[in-house]
Symmetry: C2
Subunit: 557 residues, 2 copies
């Protein structure tokens, strides 16, 4: 019988987090405990660590996702465990999951099988309250905005042109579009509004890019919440509430320390959307991990065209260093889907489809190489993979001059990641070239987007719709054009059409609209409709959840 | 120079909560730490304590509040400190504050001066996340309700007749009345909705009355969320989500342990509204305190007509015992306001006004005596009180046969509460009569409300409006009439008219509407408009808040 993730997790014996922390040189006084198995690092310790040397940074990314699954978080965790097995002092840095999807659809974000971070129930529920602090800060800003208008609107804010939305950390489609302020003069000013899920809040992106509390406060002040009746931008600093918002986030900004099943220390902290935001765990978590570990394994959201590109162009400028190696996770199943096989036929061997689908992996390999960072491909093995298929993929990678390693961490934990760990270690030994981002941040918005589309996606050209064109002009006038670009594009294809799998050619990308995220410090380019508030399915996972009389979670996964 | 509350709090030296816990027989393994100075008790320990003997229970209540202030929480804390000074092993049990008002109007809920619970910044901000867990559970239920209707409405729920609202833990008037589900067929079903502040959620009342997780789950299942098109009630158990809601609350239900400035252990846990709910800290906190301390000091919200009555008629049936003594807090200033003095003239001596205003205190004394519980009056002293005024109040109480004690805990901490502590201890020594509630829970709704109005408020009769009359009939048919009553009435007067101070006579009370809170286990009787979502003032306290570079709170109070 195959055990479920929660069964494996609940059978694991956890070590007190104090002892896990000791293995990377932390003492109890450096920690703010949340029960026995979770802790935040104190701000004093985070600041004191800044003078430490940096470890080696390994980024885990993936091919374009398919319904077959890739297992990026699982590989990240297993690779960390494997490095520790090889005697390398390794720390993992991961995103923390949103509660909303947990109540909706089975499946968490804490890895799987023998490669999980623990305690998985806590991490998937309230954890250390970071999401709730972000929700509160986001909605406090909304309340203060509406109150400003209610109390006389000194700033002349045009409520038809506000771009700041409320949030909840739930899947709640009924809140996507709402009208607030109804009920008469003393109940507020009626206006259209909407709720996003908390991880889509700009405050989440800010928390994940801030280097310290001072930087956090400045970024909060820079948020654009809307425009005046004379079309001038209104910033949070105009409302004078960035101090209060930073106060609400003073604990949420501290990285959370937990452990894997194999007792590898793991920072699980921050989890912004990977479309309208950059999709990586916090800068403070990665930076702190680099100061404490000789090796750090971290991940980026979605496929490498979005996640890795944003990690390298948006997050890296806020980190002490660029990655020393990148792992691209692929599965035989997913590559066969890129080669045209239906999900229902994936259990059948299909070498030809695999060869066709390899084109997707090939493009991501070339992309990462263009940043001048060493690449290793990880085959995340499934029971249905045949030796012939694996051999084919190995040959294709070798022809491309890229190291490839088999990886079975779901089934075997760190032991299943040793081949991958060795491959990564050997790749990092070579002489390192200078890191080369896709664009110069001082280029125009049009040039930067075009660079991403042509170099990373392999597209032909970019079509800017009328609104986006006008915004490019306005943003340049406001002085907002010297910022990195955050592309909001489908994760399923290198193009902006989710049905074009493998390596589409001769396609154009349409940019519909830009969104200024000046707090986060990037400009979002929307290439289609982006869902920022998921809905619940017909039979939500919540219907099977329960808790026993002493507080043990039931049916969580 | 007089120090502010936050200055006094930040100058205090905190003892690790592990050491505080040891003073009442708890070991580290019984605690789930939240940093060094906050902890939750483990559910295992809470359950294990149930066979312990109970300590003596002291309830602190007050006269009807005025703008002059009473200082009920401050006296509760100072009395606990004083009892500890006298060598009595004492534990305090208090409500935890809502974050919303903290952002709005200066002033927290953690006591004041030398009588505070610490760390006050944390308790007033996110604390241990209880409010956020309640917010999440409340809104998960809303999302699941709207999703049920969106996915086909198998239960035939009439969205015009839902009574379950969403919540945020903020003062946000623009959310009082909203329309959700706009935007077309895939965005949900449009309907009117509204947001209350989190502490007004029935889930808060449930958390505060539940005896354990099993009871919690059953109560959650009993929540009435609305009615079908055929006017049948719809319960949470019909949606089959009480298990998921209980899972979201599995940690929030555990009492939080902190300390006073004088290192007295204090449980700060749960804080339901005192109008549409019962206004006391959790049953689990009070019960656990009774098992750990020889003496427990706790408080009830608003004046004694609401807070103490609800404590005695709603909370006591869920406690292992009724109070052994009740302290009624009064101030010379507030009694003078009840005697007709304007706030601007309170610094002037006015013995005549004091005598007139004493009628308010007198009625509350009689009320508590009618429950067969010993009463002590505490004069919470202010600098402006004159000796003549204090002497007058002492004489009035002595004529009434009631012990009165001077109390200066704001200025002097526990030392300022020793006289009160001694008075309470001596009152508790007498032979105890059998506790006598105001009504028999098996009486009809009309009889129970009439009993409260006539016996406690001193009113003539109750006028039930048409809607309330129809509801009394319906509720009896549903079998919902054998529950205690939770009166929602102005806190400022014994009557339902906030301008009638002191001891109004010959007044009637109008009951407009009833609200079934079957999860909490009471029927709310609304006597007027009840504000369940506060607004922000013209200059919110948030504008003065900040945080320094290492995370210290600035301008919180």
């Amino acid at each position: 019988m195959v055990l479920t993730d929660i069964e494996i997790a609940q059978q694991a014996t956890l070590t007190p987090i104090k002892e896990i922390a000791e293995t990377i040189g932390l003492v109890e006084d450096d920690l703010e405990l949340f029960g026995k198995y979770k802790a935040k690092l104190s701000m004093e310790k985070i600041n004191a660590l800044k003078s430490n040397e940096n470890g080696q940074l390994i980024l885990v990314t993936a091919i374009n996702p398919t319904p077959a699954g890739e297992g990026k978080s699982t590989v990240t965790i297993g690779l960390g465990d494997a490095l520790n097995r090889l005697g390398k002092k390794t720390v993992i840095a991961l995103r923390e999951p949103s509660l909303g999807p947990v109540m909706g659809i089975k499946g968490g974000a804490t890895g799987g099988g023998a490669a999980q971070v623990l305690p998985m129930e806590d991490i998937n529920l309230h954890f250390t309250g970071d999401m709730h602090a972000i929700t509160t800060a986001n909605n406090a800003l909304s309340a203060l905005l509406d109150n400003h208008v209610q109390q006389g609107n000194e700033l002349n804010i045009d409520l038809r042109r506000t771009i700041w939305k409320r949030v909840v950390d739930l899947n709640d489609r009924a809140l996507r579009k709402v009208v607030v302020g109804l009920g008469g003069a003393i109940q507020g000013v009626p206006r259209e509004d909407g709720f996003d899920i908390t991880v889509a809040s700009e405050i989440m992106a800010i928390l994940c890019l801030a280097r310290d509390i001072t930087d956090l406060k400045q970024r909060l002040g820079n948020i654009v919440i809307g425009y005046t009746y004379t079309r001038q931008p209104v910033f949070v600093r105009d409302l004078k509430v960035e101090g209060a918002l930073a106060l609400l986030l003073k604990d949420a900004i501290k990285p959370n320390l937990v452990q894997t099943i194999e007792k590898t220390p793991a920072f699980v902290h921050g989890g912004p959307f990977a479309n309208i935001a950059h999709g990586c765990n916090s800068v403070l978590a990665t930076t702190t991990a680099l100061k404490l570990g000789d090796y750090v394994v971290t991940e980026a959201g979605f496929g490498a065209d979005l996640g890795a590109e944003k990690f390298l162009d948006i997050k890296v400028p806020n980190l002490p260093k660029a990655p020393d190696a990148v792992v691209i996770v692929a599965t035989i199943r997913a590559l066969k889907m890129h080669g045209g096989v239906l999900k229902s036929n994936l259990q059948e061997e299909n070498v030809e489809a695999l060869k066709v689908g390899f084109a997707n992996l090939e493009k991501h390999i070339e992309n990462i190489q263009s940043f001048n960072v060493p690449v290793v491909v990880a085959i995340n093995e499934f029971l249905t993979d045949t030796e012939e298929e694996i051999l084919t993929l190995q040959q294709l990678c070798e022809e491309k001059g890229v190291k490839i390693a088999r990886c079975s961490v779901w089934a075997n934990g760190g032991a299943g990641g040793v081949e991958l760990a060795k491959a990564v270690l050997s790749e990092m030994e070579g002489t390192s070239k200078e890191f080369s981002p896709v664009y110069d941040v001082n280029d125009s918005i049009e040039e930067k987007i075009t660079a991403i589309v042509q170099k990373i996606y392999g597209g032909r050209q970019v079509h800017f719709e009328k609104k986006a064109k006008m915004q490019m002009k306005n943003f340049a006038q406001y002085g907002w054009d010297k910022l990195p670009i955050c592309m909001a594009k489908t994760q399923y294809s290198l193009s902006d059409d989710p049905t074009l799998l493998a390596r589409p050619k001769d396609f154009d990308i349409t940019v519909r609209e830009l969104v200024p995220k000046l707090g986060a410090g990037f400009i979002v380019a929307l290439t289609g409709d982006v869902m920022t508030m998921p809905g619940l399915p017909k039979t939500p996972a919540a219907l099977n959840m329960d808790v026993d009389s002493v507080g043990n979670a039931i049916g969580l996964f």
